[in-house]
Amino acid sequence: MTKKTVDPLERVEKELKKCVKCGACRANCPAFTAFQREPAVARGKVALAQHIMKGDITLDDGTYAAMSKCLLCGSCVEKCPNQVPTDEIVIAAREALAKRRGLTTFHKAVGQVIKTRKLMNLGAFAASILGPVFFRKIPATSGLRLRFPVPFIGNSRHIPQIAKKSFIASHPEVIQGEPGKPRIVFFVGCMTNFVYTGIGEATIKLFQHLGCTIIIPKDQQCCGLPGMSGGDLDTVRELAEQNLAALEAHQADYVMTACATCGGALHKLYPLVIGKRNPELKERLKALADKTVDASVLLKKLGLNPEETGSSAELNITYHDPCHLRTAGITKEPRALLKGTPGLNLVEMEGADRCCGLGGTFNVYHYDSSLKINAGKTAAIQATGADAVVTGCPGCIMQLSDGLKQAGDKTRVVHTVELLAGQIKR
């Protein structure tokens, strides 16, 4: 094995030694719950990474299969007595695998799509450009006929409708607010831009209500997370630089996301994947990370009064913690806002903090297991008797909707901001 192949894992060499194989991760790992085999659990992947480093196993199909069985949900990290960052280890291992074996046809396609310059600004053309990859217009024999989680194509999956016009294309780049009020750069994300545009609309309404100036940079790109989950970190690095330039260009007080996953990319992934060899870029990305804030946290901080803005319809709701908010410690803010909204009655579900099972590529390669994990979530939601399940990530929204619909359940799935902006008319 050449030195170069192992490179990404060297990033986490020190962390690998921290794992004592106690097995605590078995209690918390959703992938292990689904597969019930050790290669699916954190300590198994750490053991494999250790052996890759030693050079006594190769980056072959078996290693690839094991490393693919991870949702990167971070629950093992939170519960680990030694705080072993298995998520970072898996990301590094996937990068090593991709470098060694080359990207899969699927991930090459993903990379090409998410790197398309001006992708986010394609407007009405989006669907037709994305079509060949995302939709079933491809012959069954083509390697491009792939199931992709954003927006997902599955055999039995309920596919969300794609918007006629993308969110970014539907809005001016700057929506001027009141003088003296915060200037906010809105990092939209693909799901909100192309599928759940309502989340974007609600977000704008709320921050306009607070008098903020909202900037929606036209040249922002995909956050890159779909690339990351396949080990295509070079694409992530490329997108990190492009997004950095796009977001830095506007003098703003905050960079705000309403997508937990995009927030996770800006906040944690970018600084992580840019090596020490590029200190200047790393510093700038760190500064960007410090400025990045989730919509719910910022709304709370800027003193949104949900009594003025929020839905007043009587509704029993339950809240699902997206992994990328939970691992960033954001669990209280959305709940506080929802509890303060007239008419809403929050009933906690069992295991609100457990992953929905989407996990980027996981959902593509392990759809059955993803469904299994999701089924647990569906049951927990149903047990609350809630009329709607609320969450802060469009990815989770898609996954939860799919689970509920497949169970023949009509419970609505909505984003926190959609309920908070329920009363605002434009």
Binding site: K18, K21, G23, G62, N82
Partner: protein
Amino acid sequence: MLEARILDKLTEIVGKENIATEVQDMICYGYDATQMEFLPDAVVHPANSAEVSQVLALANREKFPVFPRGAGSGFTGGALPKGGGIVLVTTRMNRILRIDTDNLVAEVEPGVVTEAFQMEVEKLGLFYPPDPASLKFSTLGGNVAECAGGPRAVKYGVTKDFVMGLEVVLPTGEVIRTGGETVKGVVGYDLTKLICGSEGTLGVITKIIFKLLPYPDSKKTMLTVFDSIDGAARAVSTIIKGKIIPTTLEFMDHATLTCVERRFNLGLPAEGRAVLLIEVDGDRDLIEKQAEQIHALIKPLGLVQFRVAKDAAESEELWRVRRLVSPSLRDVNPDKFNEDIVVPRSRVPDVIRRIEQIQQRYEIPIVNFGHAGDGNIHVNIMIDKTVPGQLEKAHEAIKEVFQAALDLGGTMSGEHGVGLAKQAFIPMELTADQIGAMRAIKRALDPNNILNPGKMLPVE
């Protein structure tokens, strides 16, 4: 390496979904919490006792080793396939078969996770007290095989005290029942007790009948801080002598507290040298009285803080101190040897003094905490394996710690077992005749030495 025809037969028994031979799978079933590693030749996941029986009969006929494994969270290497062979994982057998509220018994398969079982019985107002630290992920089968303990052993005893009967597959393939579900029963040898703690060397447990208790009405948690380690150690025996049996009596020494405090800043008093975390449970009025009695008993022993949790949330806050111990220890040194000696409760102060002397003599940090209420102390010898000579020093220190426990009328392991980790030390505790008797049992049940060979008893 196993011959292809044997692998074919194993595949026939468990199905191709439930056998693995790829190197990645071997790595993932080659470790446990000891940080030792031995790779098996194959891993099988049988679904029931019939499949286990067929696997063992085949192994006995073809003479290849079988290593039973639950969650693989053991501290002594009991589930490790040293020398190669197959690992037999019990986690597919994970059903709770019945919870009998008329007779307060439950029957389970071995792969059920301890905490999952506790939660189910608690829904019915019942109680399964054994609480090893690994209860969120360890399996009941593993708990029985290792006779797991835990903090609540002070009042309620250990796993074997709750096992009424078993279904066991013998190394030669026969499936037998031991014990039963009656409170009394004296027909034949007590094979149930023999299997409990036998570390998977005498049979594979495929069903367990547990005794259950009514769930206690309420509990009270107290965090007590002492100005000397001796004061805390004496408090343990004073409480027991005062005829109060708390549910738990957890001890943490100064080194432990320093680690926890440094990392988590819990605001423990600076003059504190040792902590006892005490919990009592039972009838509400009774435990109020017991808490007062405990306070009165330990006050003269250099008590500098006595905190009583007002509610469940505060109780959880106090327990946090104890739970944070394990993650904090590695700040002392990267590698630890976690031993679990036991002495009669009245000798806890003596053994703590002896360990302090050993620590000074060897100049390596030893951190002590654990279930002092039943005399079980977790002695953590903290070293850095990369520093030359430390490993050897640790080995010598461990030997002396064991000797101290034995001199004081104790044992070298209360709940972790022997496995591979303590095998070499066994002759310190057991006589040649005792070992001979144990070997005779092993030979009688496992004539070809195929089940978890090379474990527990010293290598001949």
